[in-house]
Amino acid sequence: MPELGKYVFAVLGSYGISVAMLVVLCTLSLMRARKMRRDLAAIEQRMRRDG
């Protein structure tokens, strides 16, 4: 761990908040992508079945 001195809050805060925001953005994007893929496949299957 590098010696951050009086900047420890600023540096660790920046890394923590930024990484957290990027992880949340990626997770939400992946979850919505999966859900939409699944839902669309289900609707297309239903419409094919019902004509």
Binding site: P2, F9, V11, S14, Y15, S29, M36, R37, E44
Partner: protein
């Protein structure tokens, strides 16, 4: 060589982006991990700013992407206005939340960096203020898409909003040059070697920038696929309701 307009076909876009996405996403992850670990653990302190200089590896790439995401949305909106390709309007919609997060990261890391160096979290400096306005434009753009039911009308109105917001995207880039006042320094990256940051900070910064660019591309591809599927689902459900 295939025409660029082939990718205006949603099926073609999804098939091609499915092939590219794992590579772009994987490369983004590698660049981000290498760049941030290099910058955080293996770079020295700055002679004036001390260890706080390590914030540059997040602040500069995020600010760069905040502006360039809006410019990408501008190009996609212009394609929609001129050629009426749905994929381009949906790509602009997909990019907005990513750009908003980049803007928020730039503002938050800027405030955390500014407090120990300038002695304040925030000043109404031209660059900071134009970035805050850019964030508000992002939020307004996202809200406008969500508020309008008809996709084509939403694409038209958000495209106009995007054109107006482009003034602030450019202002946030050049504010330091237009108004020679305020606390924010000039550009960290420059073709002029005298003005550029030192090599020891520059190389990991380039890797981080590559990581942010690739992450943006990967997220926009993924989210555009999602928007295409969501639009198709709305069309199918409407057709089903009409019998």
């Amino acid at each position: 060589m295939a025409s660029l307009w082939e990718y205006a076909n949603p099926r073609k876009f999804i098939a091609t982006s499915d092939l590219v996405l794992p590579w772009v996403g994987g490369l983004a992850l590698v660049c981000l991990v290498v760049g941030l670990v290099w910058g955080f653990f293996f770079t020295p302190e700055d002679y004036r700013q001390g260890a706080s200089v390590k914030i540059i590896y997040l602040h500069v790439p995020a600010a760069l992407m905040a502006i360039n995401a809006w410019l990408m949305m501008l190009v996609a909106s212009l394609v929609w206005i001129v050629r009426r390709h749905h994929v381009s309007a949906l790509a602009a919609r997909a990019a907005a939340p990513v750009g908003a997060v980049m803007t928020l990261i730039a503002l938050v890391t800027g405030a955390l960096w500014g407090q120990p160096i300038w002695g304040t979290w925030w000043v109404w400096d031209p660059r900071l203020t134009s970035f805050l306005i850019l964030l508000l434009f992002y939020l307004g753009y996202i809200a406008l898409w969500a508020a309008i039911e008809n996709d084509d009308t939403a694409a038209d109105l958000t495209s106009v909003l995007c054109l107006v917001g482009s003034v602030f995207a450019l202002l946030s880039r050049y504010a330091v040059l237009f108004w020679n006042q305020g606390l924010h320094q000039g550009a960290s990256l420059s073709l002029d070697k005298e003005e550029n940051v030192a090599d020891v900070f520059y190389l990991p910064l380039l890797v981080c920038i590559a990581g942010f660019v690739l992450l943006f591309v990967a997220l926009v591809l993924l989210r555009t696929q999602t928007e295409i599927r969501a639009r198709r689902m709305r069309v199918l459900l409407a057709r089903e309701r009409m019998g």
